[in-house]
Symmetry: D2
């Protein structure tokens, strides 16, 4: 962000994809109904239903990821239930207690680079049921995952199927945070489509903010009966925009001509180039990433040197070494990647 | 909204002022920090502080009016307190219980076309204190007003001073919902400036959504100590945007070169023209409005006739007659007003 | 409470019926399971189910009326719903905002000496449904009544049937606060039995604290499916007693040999004697009470004179006159009534 | 609980100390003010203040431990804060999510047989402050400990002083759950007095239910300014008893003539006898307990054998072995201990 300094600190540094801005300009003075009843939002809804192969799904547009998680999770849980999440899950750490402020406990399980396994869900539920005090405890009601995870890792379709089965066999719902979903869908390693998510999850959201939109996340509830009065609850949470067209426009463009499926591809390729350079330079990766985030391990001194020229995201200490994250985005320029590669 | 039909149903039918869109386009690919730490949001903050003559005020940008009300009121109230509002107040009726979902009772007092009087506050607090059971009751902690009110009426500076005095003498905070504040500031009848609001209220918000912005309301807390950790609480409520620049841009433009003080003027003048025509035609007004909303009383049949050509907002029944509202906005075209006048 | 001064200020001045204390003493050192799984609580449950003619009803014992109302109402409402109550309802005024702290709005309707009418419910729901903004409003989900009401008035069986019908035809639940239910059941004017309440209400509680118990209210849910995981929710609200036997003992005794149906009779008869004396003395009653509370209207001076000799409960001002309440209870001694009559 | 079977499963199997029952009987028909304003509750308040050497402390009587924890913690925390507790803490596991239902996250740290160390608090707070994202995270606001802990272990006075210092140097409050406090005070190993707790903690409660009372916990707030409007908040949580005398009586007796300091002694001595027998028989203890709970490790088969004759509490699996808990209480008879010893 500083003049002349490269910035790979996150994937929400720029505004919106050019097409979105143009559409906002083109439709600006058209009079449209409020609260999402405008024709653009209605069109966006249709496009997303189609992309998900779920013509009957409920689609609602929200403003941000924490908001989407908090509203959907609280709508999916019963008052006596909690949500299972990886210790590194966004809802576990970085939402300032939004889930608890809504009345629900986050039941943390250790993740493997952000991922949970079906067997963990199974064990957790067996332990819960066999505990003679379980009626004095928080009943798990939902499993929260993210695709890609906070580490940029991916669940395979088979893993999602196993998770979905483990959830539904244990009367749990499965919810997926798709803040960076475009980067999952753009990954050569990904085999889980939007249609798969719609089939396997009880609810999820399609991230806009980090994937080319100015603002917005699209909540998808494949079976609308799961969240009755969703509109009113969004209003009650203060999340209903009078000018819903703003959100509708983001997603109508992102889902027109397959833009959402393309928009992350370059970022993923750029991240691979960065990883390759790190490996060539003998800098250990935390793991091989399939998406737009790259995690590697360097000494504190090297990190500080790097920081003079490149904005990055510090992740955590590993003894004396640091885990550092670099992110690309749909808007990352090749020349910036070139400049970065020279510095590594 | 229908083809060929005039639409005076509300003041959020269009997008944003042209300058805002242009600024979004011009700055789109600049990399900026998230969460409101970008230079545009910082500039917007400075401009609003200056317009309020409060260099130390805390300014935070939020997405909508219900959200702003819910967050600020819950941040200003103690857990055992409730909020006094007019029966017609937005928080009393049209926020789907957001205030109660946050744990607080709305204590309704009858309003006069949306306005509360200082003497009502005084009486209410005397009754509360003299009730021997008051420790079993909800303690009023804050008075909610709107400027202009839901009826478009205005508090004069003297009325605001009296309310502020009544509040502070009774250990109440005073909060003002400024969803349509630009139309108050643009009214020839208004004598309460932003500086006055900053001096007399403990918190308020400056409406963007209905006043020329695509999205956004600017929360103003003249004395920041009143809401500690406001940033974290906004996050906890799911209201913190990663791309805060979107909100900052709205207000940086609205408060550059006095745009916010100009943007409502034409709408107010247009509303006066509509009122004059109604009076000339002998259609009774509910009251003379000082801002961009016009309320009048017609028979059900006349209303239905009107509705074939103009979208309006039905307000309430008065016996067999209807109270109908027409709204202009910063974007209402003169030719549409002309066309409307011919129909009345 | 002061030495030598009569006290008719309320109906919870004394401890418990002698039989309850004796039972506590007799069973004190028996080892029993906690949390209501003890044999005494189980027996109390059976007796109440029998008295209600509902062998499958869920019975849970709680500690007080506000707690019972708050827990049951929040368990019966959906998160987007509110509770309809009379303006004078206990939940509307005297529970320190417990319902709102649980996230729900109290939607107040004017009562007639504490009573609501079926037609009010019908009108209220018609108005709600016909409001084009109703999805931005709190949906009524439940009607709160009390039997007897806060004024000691009674719903007849026909009135309850009409209310129940109006509720169920409008997808509302009906909930009855029975804090003083023994005085209703003991009234010669009452024709609504426990069995009727069980048939007509979705949930109610049988008051112990004001009806001869040291502590406790018995929550009755005729169809247990209406409140799943009730036990866990009681725990979550901090209302589950480790020594549940304490509560069980109250109700096992109250429902043994019909004690609960007898315990209020004397109090009601005493209240009638007080009313007769007031009428004889030309002191206007607020209305003829069918239960253990007596409301009458006297000047401020007379009230102050009375207060030197008798503790009463001040109700409200009627112009310059005061509405004063006198209560008898299951433990009121005839000699105290005699002494009171001499003073009136 | 079954006929003829010994029961050492917990310490709330019996009713109340004989003196408490006698006092209830003796004062039963005295008319007393409600809501804790009765003379017995006032006397109990004075006695507890004296025992704590805190004449200005606020004392309020509550019904149970989960309720006391939930109310006091939510009153001590700001809305954006969470509570640090050991993973085994009662608030972490066995309160059905009551803390989260009140809006707050429980931030778990690993305990050593239920105990937290000052250094853990220090490290936790340093990590929090140095995290650049900490404004997106839940701020720790309070440390929850229990004395004795859920494992029956004790904090020494020095440990409490270190914890208190670590808390206050890090702007944390210190709260102590004293559900079994009488067994701590009765332990020969204890050196932390009620006065010490009052000096070192910001709030705590003195357990009644497990320590000889029928019901009740006494909340102690050494500096009442820390919880303004505590009475109203107790009411709002549904925890205010109309017949407060019931709770006052428990504590007036427990704190008369030092009963509370004596009542746990026999139980602690009995627990030591059980431990000695276990050691003599070569059955490994989980650790040497200083209070009324005994934890030991046996095979599943031995546990099942034991279970035919004695009710115990299963704690957890250690590989194929079981950790089993036996509890004595103020009411445990020597003959039952003798019988138990023969079985071990």
């Amino acid at each position: 962000m500083e003049q002349g300094r490269l910035d790979f600190s996150c994937d929400y540094l720029e505004g919106a994809h050019d097409r979105i801005l143009r559409r906002l300009v083109d439709t600006n003075l058209e009079k449209m109904a409020g609260y999402g009843f405008d024709p653009i939002s209605q069109s966006a809804t249709r496009r997303i239903r189609e992309a998900c192969e779920r013509p009957g799904a409920e689609i609602q547009f929200l403003e941000g990821g924490t908001q989407a998680n908090e509203i959907m999770i609280s709508c999916l849980l019963e008052p006596w239930q909690g949500v299972i999440a990886a210790t590194s899950g966004h809802v576990s750490v970085h939402e300032a207690g939004a889930i608890e402020a809504g009345g629900h406990k986050v039941l943390e399980l250790p993740g493997q680079h952000g991922k949970l396994e079906a067997s963990q869900i199974q064990s957790c539920m067996e332990a819960f049921r066999s505990d003679s005090n379980h009626e004095h405890m928080v009943e798990p009601g939902l499993v929260y995952i993210s695709q890609p995870t906070e580490y940029g890792t991916l669940y395979s379709k088979a893993e999602l199927e196993a998770l979905s089965r483990a959830c539904h066999e244990n009367a749990l719902k499965l919810y997926c945070d798709g803040a960076r979903l475009a980067y999952a869908l753009a990954s050569p390693e990904n085999d889980a489509s939007l249609s798969d998510l719609s089939r396997l999850c009880d609810a999820f959201y399609i991230g806009g903010t980090k994937c080319g939109a100015l603002i917005g996340e699209a909540a998808v509830v494949p079976d609308p009966k799961l969240i009755p009065h969703f509109f009113t609850r969004i209003k009650q949470h203060g999340a209903l925009l009078a000018k819903g067209r703003l959100l509708g426009t983001q997603f109508d463009e992102l889902f027109k001509d397959g833009l959402y499926f393309e928009i992350g591809k370059k970022a993923v390729a750029q991240a691979r180039r960065i990883e390759e350079r790190l490996e060539k330079r003998g800098i250990p990766l935390l793991f091989k990433s399939p998406t737009n985030q790259v995690f590697f391990i360097i000494s504190r001194q090297k990190m500080e040197e790097l920081g003079r020229k490149v904005a990055y995201s510090f992740w955590e200490w590993r003894g004396n070494d640091a885990v550092v994250r670099l992110s690309t985005s749909w808007a990352t320029r090749d020349e910036d990647v070139e400049a970065l590669l020279k510095l590594l």
